[in-house]
Structures are given as structure tokens and as C-alpha cells.
């Protein structure tokens, strides 16, 4: 199945779970295959990602509504970190840079997360992202900007005050 890695990766980050991502990707790709006749475009990846993305949102709406309404919220991130530091080995894992990035990315709101994943991990152009997520290109850029700023803030080592200062400076 072509582009199944791309499909799975997007689903995994939107659903924040490998197991759920596998189920949703499987269903979406089977559905895509069945409707392959309806695809007349040239970019199969964009078309497939669009289907998978919509499948993820339907799944979230049904199973985890809160995920869609959660606006950028650091408590998710802090909570996640709090859980992770409960045991010594988890703490060791949390100190791992990759783990830290994963948690940061996962605590972003779904809309920012998907755009970031499509841009940074999948290497999609703004136009492709706009097609996949059904948002205007201008919004793609501003969403990316918000998502990256959010990530930066989350990754700054214990510098809440500093981040706040920067934020003020930028708004001036």
C-alpha cells in the first residue's frame, strides 16, 4: 500500500496513540482503496492524507471529543511530564530529548499539531497542507507560526518567565 507510512504517521500524531492510529489508518486506507476509482488527481499522497485526516477527526469526535476542543494548554504538557516523572525509569525516559519533544508536540492542539507534522515530518508544501486540512494557505502559515512558538515555549527549560518576556516583546 503506497503512502501507508505517511498515513500512519499523521494518524499517530493526531490520535496520540499508535494502536488507535493503526486501526484508523487501516480503515481509512481500505476505504480509500475501495474508492480508488473516484481518484482522478495526480497527487495520491495528498488525497490519501486527506482521507486519513478526516477519518482521524471523525474518530476523535466519536471517541475523544475533548481532544478537538482543547486549545493550547500547558497543563496537558505539565500533566504528562508529571506522570512521566512518577517512577525513576520514566523520569529517565522523560529526560530523553526525543521523549520531551514528543510530549511537547502531543500537547499542542490538534490543528497546530497536524500542520506541524505535515510540514516538519512529512515535508508537505503549504498548498498540500491546505488541501489536506481544508484550510486556506494563509491560515496554514499562521497555524504553523503558532504551533512552532508553542513548541518553543514548551521546550524552553524551566523558563516560563523568560518565555513570557519574549512574548511581550514580540507583541510591542
Amino acid at each position: 500500500m503506497p503512502h501507508q507510512d505517511a498515513a500512519f504517521n499523521l494518524a499517530r500524531w493526531l490520535l496520540r496513540s499508535r494502536a488507535d492510529a493503526e486501526d484508523v489508518t487501516q480503515d481509512a486506507l481500505v476505504r480509500a482503496f475501495r474508492f480508488m476509482a473516484g481518484f482522478h488527481g495526480t497527487d495520491a499522497r495528498t488525497w490519501l492524507l486527506q482521507i486519513v485526516r478526516n477519518a482521524c477527526y471523525s474518530w476523535l469526535e466519536k471517541n475523544r471529543r475533548a481532544d478537538l476542543t482543547t486549545e493550547f494548554d500547558e497543563t496537558v504538557h505539565l500533566q504528562a511530564q508529571g506522570q512521566a516523572t512518577q517512577t525513576p525509569e520514566a523520569a529517565a525516559v522523560a529526560s530523553n530529548e526525543r521523549e520531551r519533544l514528543m510530549r511537547a508536540l502531543e500537547s499542542l492542539p490538534a490543528r497546530s499539531r497536524e500542520v506541524l507534522v505535515l510540514r516538519e515530518l512529512e515535508g508537505c508544501s503549504y498548498k498540500e497542507i491546505a488541501t489536506i486540512t481544508s484550510i486556506p494557505i494563509g491560515t496554514v502559515m499562521s497555524t504553523l507560526s503558532r504551533g512552532r512558538d508553542g513548541l518553543k515555549r514548551l521546550l524552553r527549560p524551566a523558563g516560563g518567565a523568560d518565555a513570557g518576556g519574549k512574548e511581550v516583546h514580540r507583541d510591542v
Binding site: 500512519f8 504517521n9 500524531w13 493503526e22 487501516q26 526525543r98 515530518l121 502559515m141 512552532r148 514580540r170
Partner: protein, 263 residues
């Protein structure tokens, strides 16, 4: 801070452009504009550098997660079972199944039929169709005014030498006027990519084209007799030659002519 304040308006625009620039999505004019701004704005340079390092961090973390190894197989299996499993298509399933089953039966019958034909004629059916089409086309074309004969003569001693030098074989030419098949002339035609002799006979008001070429070592793809688009043909072999007579006359007439030619 001072510098930041002085170019606040530009910086605001740059904030919007920064990500487009970072992602290589700005048009050349905008990109150049942004680069010019960068030259005079250290906060924006710092911003860009920060974003670039964030990107590098993301890349280094290798966050891309590939599909589990078994996913492709699961998908294939589900696609294979999709008709039986899916519930909202259940009404269609039996119909599709019947159609599929009938299609398979028709296909098998076709394979058996054409396969048998192929074995009997020793050559693929496609070739047979192609060659017979050529014969029919050539005959139809010859019926257009001025195309019937290249050499117009009822004399076999005129027609036979006419082929000399035009073909690498000598076709047997007989005038069969006594038997009701007057020789009208001859012409050259192309069949299966090579020149062949065509003898034109008359039968009452009809014309008969007899294609003659040296017999190939293997069996011919053309069936002995047949009809297509109202034309009959009669194929035979004799004296190291292959004959294919085609006309709109009756099959019996063609058969008689074929027998006479083979004598």
C-alpha cells in the same frame, strides 16, 4: 529593544513572513524583501535562528513513525474480504457476486472455446482474425472503381507473366471461363506484411478475389471456410500454395472454384 521598537511595523510583517521564508514558500520578491529586512533587524535574525534550531531539533529527534510491519497485510486482507464484511453494502454483495460468478463462467467458456480453436488451427486466434480482416479489407478495397485489377486480361498467358519480377514466386493462373469462372485479371496486394498475388475471377455479376501465396511450413491461421460482414471465404492448400478465395457469392460457388484451382 531600541532597534525592535524602531521597526515595529516592519517586524510585524516580518513575523508573518518569517515562517514562509523558513519553509521556502515565499515568492522571490517577498523573500528578497525579507532578507533586506533581516540585514537591519537583529531580533528577527534571532527569531529565524531560533526557528531553524527548533527545526533541527525536530529533525534530529526522528519523530516520524512508520506504519507497523503488519499493517499492509491487514489492509490487503480486509480489502480481500471487504465485500463479505462490509455491512452497508450488503444489498449489493449478492448482485456483485452473481455478476462476478457469471463473468467467470463466461470467461472460462471463452477461454475453452478460443483455446480449442487455437489448438485446432495451431495458431493464436488473434492472428487469425487479423489475417482474415486483411483479406476482407483487401477484397473490399479492390471493389472500389479502378482497383479490381492491375492487369486486366482474360488471358492466363498475359496475367501469369505480369507477376514476374513483382513476386518471388509464380502463382498458378488458370482461366476457368468454361466452368463459369472467367478470369478477369490479377493484381498485387499486401497480406501479413508481404506482397501476394490476387487473381480476380468473375461469377455472374460478382467478383471473386483469390489470394495466392507460397504455403508456409506451419498450419495457416485461417479457418477453411467462414463468413464475415457478408463475405464468404474459402481457404485451401494445394501444390505448395495457399489459396484464399473471397467473395460475396455463395459458399458452394467458392467451394467449386477452390476445387477447380486445386486440380
Amino acid at each position: 529593544m531600541q532597534a525592535g521598537k524602531r521597526c515595529t511595523v516592519t517586524c510585524e510583517i516580518s513575523q508573518a513572513l518569517l515562517h514562509g521564508y523558513l519553509d521556502g514558500e515565499l515568492d522571490p520578491i517577498r523573500a528578497e524583501e525579507f532578507e533586506r529586512h533581516l540585514e537591519s533587524c537583529s531580533p528577527c535574525i534571532a527569531q529565524l535562528e531560533e526557528q531553524e534550531s527548533l527545526r533541527a531539533t525536530l529533525r534530529a529527534a526522528k519523530l516520524y513513525e512508520r506504519a507497523p510491519a503488519g499493517l499492509a497485510k491487514k489492509i490487503q486482507r480486509q480489502i480481500a474480504n471487504t465485500e463479505t464484511e462490509s455491512d452497508y453494502q450488503w444489498t449489493w454483495v449478492p448482485i456483485f457476486r452473481w455478476i462476478a460468478a457469471s463473468a467467470v463462467i463466461v470467461l472460462l467458456m471463452a477461454i475453452t472455446y478460443f483455446g480449442a480453436q487455437r489448438i485446432l488451427s495451431g495458431k493464436p486466434g488473434v492472428e487469425q482474425t487479423a489475417m482474415m480482416s486483411e483479406v476482407i479489407d483487401a477484397h473490399v478495397r479492390s471493389l472500389q472503381p479502378g482497383h479490381l485489377t492491375d492487369v486486366l486480361s482474360t488471358d492466363q498467358h498475359t496475367v501469369k507473366p505480369w507477376f514476374n519480377g513483382k513476386l518471388d514466386y509464380v502463382p498458378p493462373v488458370k482461366d476457368l471461363a468454361e466452368n463459369g469462372f472467367p478470369l478477369l485479371g490479377g493484381r498485387l496486394d499486401v497480406l501479413d506484411g508481404r506482397s501476394v498475388a490476387v487473381l480476380v475471377y468473375g461469377r455472374r455479376k460478382h467478383y471473386i478475389s483469390v489470394f495466392v501465396w507460397p504455403a508456409a511450413p506451419n498450419d495457416s491461421p485461417i479457418p477453411a471456410t467462414g463468413t464475415r460482414n457478408g463475405f464468404q471465404w474459402n481457404y485451401s492448400r494445394a501444390h505448395g500454395m495457399e489459396f484464399c478465395a473471397i467473395s460475396d457469392v455463395s459458399a458452394t460457388d467458392l467451394h467449386d472454384l477452390a476445387e477447380l484451382l486445386q486440380e
